[in-house]
């Protein structure tokens, strides 16, 4: 396994403003956040092999330093449930991307375990010029996008701080479960919030972090999508 610091420094050396998705996932995992298992395939055949190893269903995503809205360019295929289909999907993605963004550099295709349905939350972090590392928590989808229902803390933070962040959002009741659902695993979410805080504290080169979505379950949580922006 590559050290998270090495991944970050390497990206900077290559003049990149952000980590590639598999790098971002790896870095956040190294700081103790559980992630939806994933690996980077260089060829369609390799995508098939990785998919088989991870277990179905999987999602395939294009990885390119030049593409940030992957779905818009046909760079994401979800619900792939066999090795053959994984190879096909990888080929299809490469074809879509070559057609839609002909000049994009392609680093590979991320093959990732599809996360089960659960409660979508967002965990973020940023470096503020006054307070330094700051972490954020909110519920995903309309809660964050429309209602901006999020809470913040200045790092370093304790578990108690992380629990308070979850309590503080207006939609906090959804974390407690509704319509007969059991409450989500807050310890797992706290682990993720603290991982983001540590990532920012230990790496001054990191400017901001979005883990969106993180899927929360009654037992555990996984980071599905990670974005790590580096300082310019």
């Amino acid at each position: 396994m590559v050290e998270p610091r090495e991944i970050i420094l390497n990206a900077l050396k290559e003049g990149r403003k952000k980590l590639l998705e598999h790098e971002a996932l790896e870095v956040i995992k190294a700081y103790g956040a559980p992630i939806a298992e994933a690996a980077l395939a260089k060829t369609p055949e390799e995508a098939g092999e990785i998919a088989e190893k991870i277990g179905f269903p999987v999602v395939l995503k294009i990885v390119s330093p030049d593409i940030s809205h992957k779905s818009d360019v046909g760079g994401v295929i979800v619900g792939v449930d066999s090795k053959e289909k994984a190879v096909e999907a990888a080929k299809k993605i490469i074809e879509n991307v070559s057609k839609n963004v002909p000049n994009a550099r392609i680093s590979g295709i991320l093959v990732q375990k599809m996360a089960k349905k659960g409660l979508e939350v967002i965990v973020g972090g940023l470096r503020d010029n006054i307070f330094g590392p700051v972490v954020m928590f909110g519920l995903g989808g309309i809660f964050v996008e429309v209602l901006k229902d999020v809470s913040f803390r200045v790092a370093p933070i304790t578990y108690e701080d992380a629990y308070e962040m979850m309590k503080e959002i207006k939609s906090a009741k959804l974390l407690e479960g509704y319509r007969g659902q059991p409450p989500v695993d807050k310890k797992a979410l706290a682990d993720i919030i603290i991982a983001v805080a540590k990532l920012l504290e230990n790496n001054p080169e990191v400017d901001s972090v979005d883990l969106n979505p993180v899927i929360a379950y009654p037992d555990g949580a996984v980071v599905v999508d990670a974005r790590v922006i580096l300082k310019q």
Partner: protein, 460 residues
């Protein structure tokens, strides 16, 4: 340390002037009136001002003053500061504006120059572009608003740190008019050196300060975490009531991530205020409401509140307002009801809110408070005594003051005209804070509960 800003034995006032209306004239007059130490006016154009020998330069002073106050045009400040440095001065308040706040290249350059000089000589600087310090104990008063325009408040336990000079002077005037006591007030302007962190550190140790009010626009880059840590220490000794100005989001700054787009300036300050255990006031009214309850009332152990009133409607309003702020208004338990029925006329309502009704007298309040306050299931009492009813007399204020012996918060609301105002003054003189509406009373009590939690006294 910054002690000398507040307690100097000698002070030089550069820019002292005999001309009425001049900043250097008002400041010198302030010091002459109240400061007990030695005063040296500095101005090359005069030999004597207000009966004091005036010196052409700091270099000519017979001693090194503990504090130098500078009130001259910005371009001349660097030279004066250098003179002060040569003389061995360690503390200077720069009142003058004309620095970075102007947004000009020249202003920026001048500010950088004075930063450099202060570092070279090891001079601590308050300002520039500020009102400086009003200290009710030592008589240091660099607020260049004349006494007849800005009243000076009496001595008291509140200290006040303000990023805005205008707000500082307005608040002092407001407090003076209402006879609210002040210990020390500081306006630090551009804060090139002494800032919020230094001032909190000083006020934390200051036994003449019982509560700190802060008006903050923004901290200096990189000072945020230190500010939180320092404030966290301070609030274990005395409460900090903070008003954060400039709440609108910087949102539009091209944000590379979702998180950055959501993180308005205020959102992060709000988090920091909470983490530090400071009490946030969200309006001007609240600054004073929260301050007076925190200054006068003991900490509360829980959220159970009883309302005692002579007006049913006010009781209902208080119930709503308190409940909305997260308080529990328990139904009176059977034993309490029985006890109350024994001492109250049958038409009184012994359910919480306890309604003594419009024909009440002072004594009904007294007996009820004596029953309520010693109980373990009562954490605070809110008295809604409308003074319009005939049976209420000034004696009620004495009863409420007496009830403070139970060591639990007692606050009151009073609504009305002259009589209500008189009643309010009477109560506040005796340490019972009075609020003009149920909502304001409830907000204030909420702040007391929050602070009690921060101090580890209150249960969830």
């Amino acid at each position: 340390m910054i002690e000398k800003f507040f307690n100097p034995n000698s002070v030089a006032i550069v820019g002292a002037s005999p001309k009425p209306g001049k900043v250097g004239n008002v400041i010198l007059a302030n010091f002459k009136r109240r400061f007990k130490g030695r005063i040296y006016p500095v101005n090359p154009k005069h030999e004597e001002i207000m009966g004091l020998k005036c010196y052409p330069s700091i270099k000519d002073l017979p001693e090194t003053p503990d504090l130098v106050v500078i009130a001259i045009p910005a371009p001349k400040v660097p030279q004066v500061l250098r003179d002060a440095g040569e003389k061995g001065v360690k503390a200077a308040i720069i009142i003058s504006g004309g620095f970075r706040e102007t947004g000009t290249e020249e202003g920026k350059r001048l500010e950088e120059e004075i930063v450099k000089i202060s570092k070279e000589y090891g001079i601590r600087i308050l300002g520039p572009n500020c009102l400086g310090i009003y200290d009710n104990w030592s008589g240091v008063d660099t607020f260049f608003l004349p006494d007849e325009k800005m009243m000076r408040p009496p001595k008291g336990k509140i200290s006040f740190i303000s990023q805005s000079g205008a707000f500082a002077s307005a608040l002092l005037d407001w407090m003076a008019y209402r006879n609210i006591g002040i210990s020390r007030a500081i306006s630090y302007g551009n804060k090139i050196d002494v800032d919020d962190v230094d001032l909190l550190e000083f006020l934390a140790k200051d036994d003449k300060t019982g509560l700190i009010i802060m008006y903050l626009e923004g901290l200096k880059p990189g000072r945020g975490r230190l500010f939180i840590d320092k404030a966290k220490e301070v609030v274990q000794k005395k409460p900090i009531v903070i008003y954060k100005a400039g709440k609108t989001s910087r949102g539009s700054t091209a944000a590379a991530s979702h998180t950055a787009a959501l993180a308005g300036n205020y959102a992060i300050y709000k988090a920091a205020i909470k983490q530090a255990g400071m009490i946030e006031a969200t309006s001007f009214d609240e600054i004073m409401d929260l301050s007076k309850i925190l200054l006068t009332q003991p900490l509360m152990k829980g959220r159970k509140v009883y309302v005692v009133t002579d007006a049913g409607g006010v009781g209902v309003m208080l119930t709503d307002a308190l409940t909305m702020e997260g308080f529990i208004l328990p139904r009176s338990p059977e034993d309490l009801k029985q006890e109350l029925r024994k001492v109250l006329p049958p038409h009184c309502i012994v359910e919480n809110p306890i309604d003594l009704t419009g024909d009440t007298d002072d004594d009904r309040y007294k007996v009820v408070l004596d029953i309520l306050l010693p109980r373990d299931d009562v954490d605070a009492v809110v008295v809604g005594a409308l003074p319009q009813v005939p049976g209420i007399t000034p004696k009620l204020a004495d009863y409420l003051a007496e009830a403070r012996k139970y060591g639990k918060p007692i606050i009151a609301i009073s609504i009305g005209s002259k009589e209500a105002e008189r009643f309010k003054d009477l109560l506040e003189d005796k340490g019972i804070p009075v609020f003009e509406s149920p909502e304001r009373a409830a907000r204030a009590l909420r702040a007391l509960y929050l602070y009690s939690k921060i101090r580890g006294v209150a249960r969830e």
